[in-house]
């Protein structure tokens, strides 16, 4: 006798869970203000990005054309598909001491999967993810970028 009770209970709990799903979709069907898709080319000027949207890696420079990258290559090691290549050089300080610094921070956008591991790995928060996303170009070479600006140098006190 118990199995019949169990059977009927199963049927009713199944119907109940389906009804919950139907109620939710009917709510969405009748509430068009909840629509989350953006009409992209039309609202290009007023696009709203979610916080975690990642477009490309950039390096932040301040007004003195200084960045925070020490050339430690932690990001290069963290990158799973060799997107980042750091070319280092040695600055000679006024006292005659050699100091390691970056010459070029080469970033291959065409290889990047926006996994964010380099940004996590960076000890000095020199790089971050930007939200630009219109990356189409006519020549593949344009996707290989040098992130540090010309003549820029590492900020004082960043080790």
């Amino acid at each position: 006798m118990m199995f019949i009770v169990k059977y009927i209970k199963e049927v009713f709990s199944g119907l109940k869970s389906l009804a919950i799903g139907l109620r939710r979709t009917l709510y969405y069907f009748t509430h068009h203000k909840e629509i989350i898709t953006q009409q992209y080319p039309d609202n290009r000027d007023t696009l709203v990005f979610p916080d975690r949207f990642k477009g490309e890696v950039v390096m932040a420079h301040d007004e003195n054309n200084e960045h925070a990258c020490t050339g430690c290559t932690a990001c290069e090691l963290a990158c799973p598909n060799a997107t980042i290549k750091i070319v280092t050089k040695f600055d000679i300080s006024p006292e005659g001491k050699k100091k390691k610094a970056i010459d070029k921070f080469v970033y291959h956008l065409e290889l990047c999967t926006m996994c964010n591991l380099c940004v996590v790995a960076c000890p000095t928060d020199a790089i971050k993810m930007a939200q630009t996303f219109e990356h189409s170009v006519f020549n593949r070479a344009e996707l290989t970028k040098v992130l540090n600006k010309p003549e820029s140098k590492v900020r004082e006190g960043v080790e």
Binding site: L18, F29, H32, I35
Partner: protein, 358 residues
């Protein structure tokens, strides 16, 4: 006031005055054929657009909104695209069966159109075993699917076709039993008699809970019979790429696509006829004044309104429920729907004998 039956009567009397009876018959058949094909094309366009809109709104999207005002011409543009595409036949395919399958799918859909009453006194073929005819013909749908799957010479297609065979053979039982509930109550197999028996209230209201259960089972079973999600195992986009129409392209694919939507329309029309009174306006018992007001709404609007309500219901199911696996699908039929509908049929029979319905 103009109505479908009046137009058809005027046409009939004019034709029989002008031509001999044989030619009248031939011309009327041609006109009916053209009307059915036009209806098919229109339904295809409207239902595809409706499906995409409903899907989009349920998934918090906007849906087609670029072609024409508010995206109204999207399905027309899709049709033109499919028309100009090349219809390829694979090398290893059984060419005759491969090309025959979509035509059979359409033919089945056309045959099913015959006994449906679109408005009062407006029906292609008033036959006295309409319900039996519909259940018999609708099981032919599986032949076109099996044919397509076999002739494609593709393992995935064959697998999809075989699944569809298992699915339709099992779900036909509970669809038939839930239709039987209405046949028992109205004691007729004629679709017109069934509609007339609902003049004082639709069966879904007159028949209490057992008929409501029968209605639920009917909706579930016909969703499975038309191979739509959550029972779309014949197509199974995720695991069989597209099942039986993997190898089809161009207009042959479009015919399958169209046949699916026409079948949805037809099963919803049958459901509306059996449970919601077909073209019969909404009547409540002996409220003469209320019934009289309801009679002013044309019967064709009642029919199409109910049918499209049921189509919306089926679309709503499709975009809410997760898909079933093949063993879950057969479990649902043989362990749940079939026993419940058999027990339900007994209850309905008891109700009909003791006169417990209104």
């Amino acid at each position: 006031m103009w109505s479908f039956s009046k137009i058809s009567n005027i046409l009939d009397s004019w034709l029989s005055e002008t031509f001999s009876p044989t030619w009248t018959m031939v011309i009327e058949m041609v006109i009916a054929g053209i009307c059915v094909i036009t209806l098919f094309a229109l339904l295809g366009l409207v239902l595809v657009l409706m499906e995409r809109r409903v899907a989009a709104w349920i998934q918090i999207r906007l849906g087609p909104n670029r072609v024409g005002p508010g995206g109204m011409l999207q399905s027309l543009a899709d049709t033109v695209k499919l028309l100009v595409k090349e219809g390829m036949t694979p090398d290893g395919a059984d060419k005759f069966l491969f090309n025959l399958a979509p035509i059979i799918a359409m033919m089945v859909a056309m045959l099913l159109m015959a006994p449906i009453a679109f408005a009062s006194n407006f029906q292609l073929w008033d036959l006295n075993i309409g319900v039996l005819y519909v259940t018999a013909i609708s099981s032919l749908m599986v032949i076109s699917i099996l044919m397509a799957g076999w002739a494609s010479n593709n393992k995935y297609s064959l697998m999809g076709a075989m699944r569809s065979g298992a699915q339709i053979v099992s779900y036909e039982l509970s669809a038939g039993l839930s239709i039987m509930a209405i046949v028992v109550l109205s004691s007729s197999l004629n679709l017109n008699d069934i509609i007339q028996s609902q003049a004082d209230g639709w069966w879904i209201f007159k028949g209490h809970i057992p008929v409501f259960i029968a209605f639920l089972i009917f909706i579930i079973a016909v969703t499975a019979e038309t191979n739509r999600a959550p029972f779309d195992l014949a197509e199974a986009e995720s695991e069989l790429t597209a099942g039986f129409h993997t190898e089809y392209s161009g207009m042959k694919f479009a015919l399958f696509f169209l046949a699916e939507y026409i079948n949805v329309f037809i099963v919803c029309a049958i459901g509306a006829t059996l449970f919601l009174g077909g073209w019969m306006p909404f009547h409540i018992g002996h409220w003469e004044a209320f019934n009289h007001v309801m009679d002013f709404i044309p019967s064709s609007i009642w029919f199409f309104g109910k049918t499209f309500f049921l189509i919306f219901l089926i679309m709503w199911f499709r975009w809410t429920f997760p898909r079933l696996r093949i063993d879950q699908l057969l479990d649902l039929e043989w362990k749940y729907l079939l026993p419940i509908s058999m027990f339900n049929l007994l209850l309905v029979t008891l109700m009909a004998i003791l006169g417990w319905h209104f």
